[in-house]
């Protein structure tokens, strides 16, 4: 190495200073993110393009791998699907009739403009959170595309989660199966509200909790739960999932059980962000 005299910072000093810095940062981050937001933004310019690139390669590779490994599976599946198709065609006929009825009813309720009327932006999932404890993920659209904190994220027709953090080029989404997630839901038939809570302990079953539903509400297995009108962050009428195993609580005032989310969180590559905040409505 070089022979120049260098300023030596003792290790203990360094450790103490950095520890103090960390503690201060922890303290500050409980109150505000003003301090870290610019750094976060700057970091996103470096990290996000790299992440996008790697993710693209990964998607391509899994595509290739799938292509070769699944031909046999596909043949079997095809036969099964043909059978199913016939069944579904029959069912579809019935549903079409229902749909017509639904449309007329919706118009009556003036619900029509509520659900399809939102402007949405499609985003690609480019990374998950670093740890195994929380179900958050990163998408490749940020404040440059008009995304703000608290915007709702959907996939297909089901609710995925909510934007918790935005940089210029990326956003962090907390999914509804996350530990910290709480959504107010309501029964699509009777508008009774309940609370939908994510739980890490249920990660293997694929369910989340459905709680605080009034005892006298009559709920059927597989009943649709949508986001409710009283939530201040989630827009009304987005499908969350289907009720399962609802039973009365020990307090005999409420009932609770599980909810099967409408979205497949394991295989989610693209999501839609609704560019509308509930509080602005």
């Amino acid at each position: 190495m070089s022979n120049k005299p260098r300023i030596q910072i003792s290790q203990k000093f360094m450790l103490t200073m950095l520890t103090i810095l960390c503690v201060v940062l922890i303290g500050v981050s409980f109150f505000t993110d003003k301090l870290t937001a610019p750094v976060q933004n700057a970091l996103s310019y470096v990290i996000v393009p790299l992440q996008k690139g790697i993710n693209g390669v990964g998607l391509w590779l899994t595509d290739r791998a799938d292509y070769f490994s699944t031909i046999d599976e596909l043949r079997e599946e095809n036969a099964l699907l043909r059978e199913e198709l016939d069944e579904l065609k029959e069912k579809n006929l019935v549903l079409v009739q229902d749909q017509i009825e639904l449309n007329t009813l919706r118009q009556l309720y003036a619900l029509d403009d509520k659900i399809p009327g939102y402007t949405k932006v499609a985003a690609r999932v480019i990374g998950k959170g670093t740890g195994n404890w929380f179900s958050t993920f990163t998408i490749d659209k940020g404040s440059k595309d008009g995304i703000l904190v608290d915007m709702n994220v959907i996939c297909g027709n089901g609710l995925v989660g909510i934007v918790t953090d935005v940089t210029d080029n990326s956003a962090t989404v907390r999914s509804i199966i996350d530990e910290k997630s709480n959504v107010t839901g309501m029964l699509i038939t009777s508008s009774d509200t309940c609370n939908i809570r994510g739980d890490l302990e249920l990660m293997d079953s694929g369910y989340i909790h459905l709680e605080y539903l009034r005892k006298d509400v009559d709920i059927k297995e597989g009943e649709m739960i949508v986001t409710s009108n009283i939530s201040d962050k989630y827009l009304e009428g987005i499908l969350i999932g289907y009720a399962k195993n609802i039973s009365e609580d020990a307090n005999s005032l409420t009932q609770s059980g599980y909810l099967v989310p409408a979205v497949d969180f394991e295989h989610m590559t693209e999501v839609l962000v609704i560019l509308e905040l509930k509080k602005n409505k």
């Binding site: 450790l15 922890i26 790299l50 740890g131 195994n132 962090t172 890490l200």
Partner: protein, 172 residues
């Protein structure tokens, strides 16, 4: 200077691996903790000063990108790097058990603290579940990855030392 650059690029590369590549290699929904692993490896192959700094910046990166409590991961990773650096003198490159043991212990302690601060304090008391379902699989997975990465790093270190030797011989 070279060492600092090595640390810097290790952090960036492992972070990208952690958030994108390894989402395809999840085993039962669990991913290894690569950043803590690289912190430990740098700790005992380069000394506690490098370990400390790598840990601090790796943790800070995690915290900033996750957007939650900034500083917690940085603090724990920093101490992990520092403590691992104490084994710098004892460590023999050919010995594989020490790196594995250190990484396993560090990951376990980090995850356990994470459980305490983010779950236990929120009245999630089923320690056995979290231990068996999240912490232990993660520790085991991380140790397995350590084996692979360590062999790779071992070759780099050997190459560097060989070239150094050659240089000293030619200069003498």
């Amino acid at each position: 200077m070279k060492k600092f650059l090595f640390c810097f690029f290790s952090i960036i590369i492992t972070y990208i691996m952690q958030v994108s590549v390894f989402t395809y290699f999840e085993i039962a929904g669990v991913r290894p903790n690569l950043l803590l692993m690289i912190t430990c490896i740098i700790g005992f192959t380069m000394g506690s000063r490098y370990g400390l700094l790598t840990g601090f910046f790796a943790g800070l990166l995690v915290d900033l990108m996750a957007g939650s409590t900034v500083g917690f991961t940085a603090l724990v990773y920093m101490y992990a790097g520092n403590v691992n650096g104490f084994f710098y003198k004892d460590y023999v490159k050919e010995e594989i058990l020490l790196p594995m043991g250190l990484v396993a212990a560090s990951t376990f302690i980090y995850e356990f603290m994470y459980y305490i601060f983010y779950f236990l304090l929120q009245n999630k008391l089923r320690l056995s579940y979290y231990l068996v379902r999240i912490i232990l699989p993660e520790v085991i997975y991380t140790v397995v990855i350590t084996l692979i990465v360590y062999v790779f790093i071992y070759f780099i270190i050997r190459k560097v030392e060989q070239s150094k030797k050659r240089r000293t011989i030619t200069s003498a």
